[in-house]
Structure formats: structure tokens, C-alpha cells
């Protein structure tokens, strides 16, 4: 892992991967959306509102997966103090927050025709809302730490990283909330060993999941490259200013 944590080596790999992940992600997402909207059958109980699942479920998976990535990067930044890990955490947080927000809003739009209400204080919904607050809290703390450093150059503050690690406790709560409590939200339809979903519905679901994941990766790489470029610019400006001082 340390071999890839070298910024120069990372940039060489990221320059190749960024367009590949983004373009492949856009293609898979477009296919998933087209099939999800127009070429998949309606559900015998939910009717056409089942189509919302093809964007809601991948967004939910990426919200949790993104937060796990944020926490892992924060853990690496705290233990090994590697700046690239801090940059990765900073890059993941807003994208994870976006997917969490998409998950909450699309879930709410699915809830109205299915449950008769946009929102209930159900364990799954509430724990997802807490995840969004954790992402926003991380972004606020990270922004405050960066401002303290004067902007541009990276500040290795611990507060945001500790918040990200503490927030990991929410992930098993999200996952098992539908089993631990009697929730309005249904239990898992797909596990590692079996699926309760018809194959005609699995295709748009997995296309969207693959597309969203690749786009997530592409956008995180773009944001990491942005942070690295800004750090390099700030460092050069500082050295130039010191030379003329």
C-alpha cells in the first residue's frame, strides 16, 4: 500500500484511471437508467415505483461504502500520517454525502406511493440520516482545519479523522437495523448466497451499481488530483515568496 501512497506514482496511475473509470461509469449508468426506466418489468406489488430501486439501492450501497472508505483513509492518516490518505478522505467525503442525500430523497419518493408517507422515524431511515450528518460534520471540521492552515496547503488535523472513525459505529447499525428492530423498511432482498429479485430486475440494478461505483471512483480521483495540484501550487508560491523575502 505504501508503494502506491507515493504522490508521484499515485498521479501517474490516477491520470490513466480517471478517464477510464469516469467514461465506463457514465456508460454503465446510462444503460442502467435506460433499462431501469423503459426496458424492465413493473413489480407485481409495487408497480412502476420499483424503478426507483435502481437508483436508490446503488446510492445506499455507495453511501455506506463511501463512508467506510472515508473512515479507512482517516485511520491510515491518523496511524501512518500519510498526506495522501488525508487527501483521499477529503475527496471521498462530499461524494459520499451526495450519495447519502440521493439515497434519502429517492427513498422518500419511493416511500410515498409504497408506504403512504415520505418519511417515518424508522431505524433504517434515521440511521441513514445520521450518516448524512456525519458526512456533513466531517466536511465542516475538515474545512475548519484547512482554513486554520491558510488554505492551499494540506493540514493534517486530527479532529475530522477521529469523527470519521467514531462514525463507523453507525455502519453496522444501518446494515442490521432491519433485523434488530421492527422497521417499516423491508429486510435485505440480496445476500451473498441468495437473491429474492427477478433476474430481469437484477440487470438494471447491477448496471446502476457498477456505473455509480465507477463514477464514484472517477470523481474521487479527480478531487484527489485537484487537492494534490493545489498543494503543489501553494508550496511553490510559498518557496518563491521566501526566496524574495
Amino acid at each position: 500500500m505504501h508503494r502506491f501512497a507515493n504522490p508521484a506514482r499515485f498521479l501517474r496511475i490516477a491520470r490513466v484511471l480517471t478517464p477510464v473509470l469516469t467514461v465506463a461509469g457514465v456508460i454503465l449508468t446510462a444503460a442502467g437508467i435506460y433499462i431501469g426506466l423503459f426496458a424492465s418489468p413493473p413489480d407485481y406489488q409495487q408497480g412502476d415505483s420499483v424503478r426507483i430501486m435502481y437508483v436508490h439501492v446503488p446510492a445506499a450501497w455507495l453511501a455506506s461504502g463511501g463512508y467506510l472508505g472515508l473512515a479507512l483513509a482517516s485511520g491510515v492518516a491518523l496511524v501512518w500520517r500519510h498526506p495522501l490518505a488525508t487527501i483521499a478522505a477529503r475527496a471521498i467525503a462530499p461524494v459520499g454525502a451526495l450519495f447519502t442525500a440521493i439515497c434519502l430523497v429517492t427513498g422518500s419518493l419511493w416511500g410515498k406511493p409504497t408506504w403512504g408517507t415520505y418519511w417515518v422515524w424508522d431505524a433504517r431511515l434515521t440511521s441513514m440520516l445520521v450518516l448524512l450528518f456525519l458526512c456533513i460534520g466531517y466536511l465542516a471540521l475538515a474545512s475548519a482545519e484547512d482554513e486554520r492552515g491558510g488554505g492551499g496547503e494540506l493540514v493534517e488535523g486530527k479532529g475530522a479523522a477521529i469523527l470519521a472513525l467514531v462514525g463507523v459505529v453507525n455502519l453496522p447499525i444501518i446494515k442490521f437495523s432491519v433485523e434488530w428492530w421492527h422497521t417499516l423498511h423491508q429486510g435485505p432482498s440480496i445476500t451473498l448466497t441468495k437473491s429474492a429479485i427477478d433476474p430481469a430486475m437484477l440487470l438494471p440494478l447491477f448496471l446502476s451499481l457498477g456505473g455509480f461505483t465507477l463514477m464514484f471512483g472517477g470523481v474521487v480521483l479527480m478531487r484527489m488530483r485537484t487537492a494534490l495540484a493545489r498543494t503543489r501550487t501553494a508550496a511553490r508560491e510559498r518557496r518563491t515568496a521566501e526566496a524574495y523575502a
Partner: protein, 42 residues
């Protein structure tokens, strides 16, 4: 389509979010890397 008033806004919001974050990140990356290249040439 039945429930179109819920299905289409869900897709619209998702696509807007994905396109928005991708374009925003791409523009920010291009600008930052161009600024870094200018600074290196100085």
C-alpha cells in the same frame, strides 16, 4: 407510467447529482492542474 410523479423526479435528481458532481470536480481538477503547471513554468 404509473407513479411517474415519483419515478421521474428520482431519476432526475440522481442524474443531476451525478452530472453536477462530475462536471464540478472535472472543472476544478483542470483549473488546479493548469495553475500548478503555470507555477512550475515560472
Amino acid at each position: 407510467m404509473i407513479h411517474a410523479e415519483f419515478v421521474y423526479p428520482s431519476y432526475l435528481l440522481t442524474v443531476a447529482g451525478l452530472v453536477g458532481v462530475t462536471v464540478w470536480s472535472l472543472i476544478a481538477m483542470r483549473r488546479a492542474e493548469a495553475a500548478a503547471a503555470r507555477e512550475r513554468r515560472r
